[in-house]
């Protein structure tokens, strides 16, 4: 029972982090139709920048916030490189893969290859049903839920958010209404950067961050986003939770070395299921 509660808490926390990454995929895809494979890099930058800021004596809280802002800026730069040139979608997609490789090189040059970590908010661990849970897990859950609520309010309720939805829904009509669809794409990249950065900031205290963690983070985030067909933020959150929990229970009850394989297997099943669903919808 104790182990079960531990896996459950860890799975939920990690799942919410994956959900943050997945939301980044979803926002960028909806507005630009680009699958941003550099999404994991935002998280790695977020973790490493927080680490350096904390070591430089910047207070906790401020460091995390600055790292998220920096990730948003990186997102904007990646967005400009990816979509500013009116390239075919496939070219944009390849550029994001290139940006992911470039990010690894930059991260390695600046921070080296040693994994880093920092402690999250310090304080006593707490006990649920006999299981010791690190306080950071609670932080992750609360912070990601707060971020989801913020994003839902900002994009579901405001005029600007509706304009962004309009770009995703019908770019031609959005242009006719005077919405600058390309600029909205850049805003989406910034948002993706911030969400990815937040994911990295939150997960680094739980499992050390390495310069090359972006690929596995991106794959899990992408898999979670696929649950909602890359377009539904709500389903992406559910997808993140499914992957977070599956990973923890496989690692806990079976073997830690199988967790990535299981995530990939789940991803392939999901992709096949999505392809079938799209084919069926296409036939209607």
């Amino acid at each position: 029972m104790t182990a079960f509660v531990e896996y459950l808490m860890t799975g939920i926390a990690r799942g919410l982090v994956f959900a943050l990454l997945a939301m980044g995929f979803v926002f960028i895809y909806r507005v630009t139709r680009v699958v941003n494979f550099a999404q994991g890099a935002f998280a790695v930058f977020g973790g490493f920048i927080t680490y350096s800021l904390l070591r430089a004596g910047v207070p906790q809280g401020v460091s995390e916030l600055l790292a998220i802002l920096a990730a948003a800026l990186i997102g904007l730069i990646f967005g400009i490189i990816t979509i500013a040139g009116d390239l075919p979608l496939l070219a944009s997609l390849i550029i994001t893969i290139g940006l992911s490789i470039l990010s690894e090189a930059i991260l390695m040059l600046i921070w080296g290859t040693t994994p880093i970590t920092y402690s999250g908010l310090t304080g006593h661990d707490f006990v649920i049903l006999g299981a010791f849970i690190q306080r950071q897990y609670l932080i992750v859950v609360l912070a990601s839920l707060a971020l989801f609520a913020l994003v839902a309010l900002a994009f579901g309720r405001t005029y600007f958010g509706k304009a962004m939805t309009a770009c995703a829904s019908n770019p031609y009509a959005a242009k006719l209404s005077g919405i600058n669809v390309k600029r909205m794409g850049l805003v989406a990249f910034m948002l993706g950067g911030a969400l990815g950065g937040a994911a990295g900031v939150l997960i680094t205290p739980l499992s050390p961050m390495t310069y090359d963690a972006d690929v596995s983070l991106a794959i899990t985030g992408f898999a979670a986003a696929i649950v909602g067909g890359l377009t539904s933020p709500g389903l992406a959150v559910i997808g993140g939770l499914v992957f977070g929990l599956a990973e923890q229970f496989v690692a806990g009850y079976w073997s830690p070395s199988n967790e990535t394989a299981v995530a990939l297997a789940l991803l392939i099943i999901l992709l096949l299921w999505q392809a079938r669903r799209m084919r069926l919808e296409g036939l209607e």
């Binding site: 005029y159 509706k162 304009a163 939805t165 309009a166 829904s169 019908n170 031609y172 009509a173 959005a174 242009k175 006719l176 209404s177 005077g178 919405i179």
Partner: protein, 240 residues
């Protein structure tokens, strides 16, 4: 939009008044190597209702998209002395947003976002205002599309294929709204139509576009009596 300088000469068929609200001079638009508009000169005066008829593929939608800045002209010139709003072919709503949000987004360029004037114009939209636009009937969607365009407070509204896919009674209802809007607010209308009868009935002037060129222009009533127009676009029916 980049306006290309070119000779500003009167068109062969008639001159463009200098106080026209909207005018094109020898407009050329290409898709790759294909020429969609081949030297189109036309105009819409202040408060005027003008029809643009012509067969499928003539370039009518291309012309509207060029006026709206979606397509770039390869040559020629566009003069617009007012605000243009475009009701695109196929309505092109934001299906997952509500009727009200669709309307409000029409005011994105500025001005009041209050949709209530549109509920006065199309009263049935008021009770549908919280419904998703994608779930509406074709006629209701066309009203939302027109309402969204009017939310930009335009001096001229260009409507592409008003009647497409709509029952005749719905078409005449919406057409009446356009006419009264024109009478009451002085909003100019450029009406693109496959249904030439309707278009020539409610407008005062018309152009016939064929293969990217204006093949005929004149008073709508005269064009409706023109044997060639009659044969090609009015299905041989005898008009009033």
């Amino acid at each position: 939009m980049k306006l290309l300088e070119s000779v500003e000469q009167p068109t062969p068929n008639g001159s463009i008044p200098s106080d026209a609200l909207l005018a094109t001079y020898n407009l050329v638009v290409r898709y790759g190597a294909a020429v969609a508009l081949d030297g189109v000169s036309m105009y819409v005066g202040k408060g005027e209702m003008v029809a643009l008829i012509g067969p499928n593929g003539a370039g009518k939608s291309t012309l509207l998209n060029t006026l709206s800045g979606i397509n770039r002209p390869a040559a020629g010139k566009i003069i617009c002395n007012g605000k243009l709003a475009h009701v695109p072919e196929g309505r092109q709503l934001f299906p997952e947003l509500t009727v009200e949000d669709n309307l409000r987004l029409g005011a994105y360029r500025g001005g009041s976002r209050d949709p209530s004037p549109m509920y006065e114009l199309f009263p049935q939209l008021h009770r549908l205002r919280h419904r998703r636009a994608g779930g509406l009937s074709g006629g209701e969607q066309q009203m939302v599309a027109i309402g969204r365009a009017l939310m930009a407070h335009p001096d001229i509204v260009a409507v592409d294929e008003l009647s497409q896919g709509l029952a005749p009674i719905v078409v005449s209802d919406i057409a009446n709204h356009l006419v009264s809007l024109n009478k009451q607010n002085g909003t100019a209308v450029l009406l693109v139509e496959q249904n030439a009868q309707l278009a020539l009935d409610i407008t005062s002037r018309a152009y016939v576009l064929e293969n990217g060129r204006i093949s005929k222009e004149g008073r709508s009533a005269d064009l409706a009596r023109d044997p060639a127009v009659h044969k090609a676009y009015l299905g041989g029916q005898v008009s009033r």
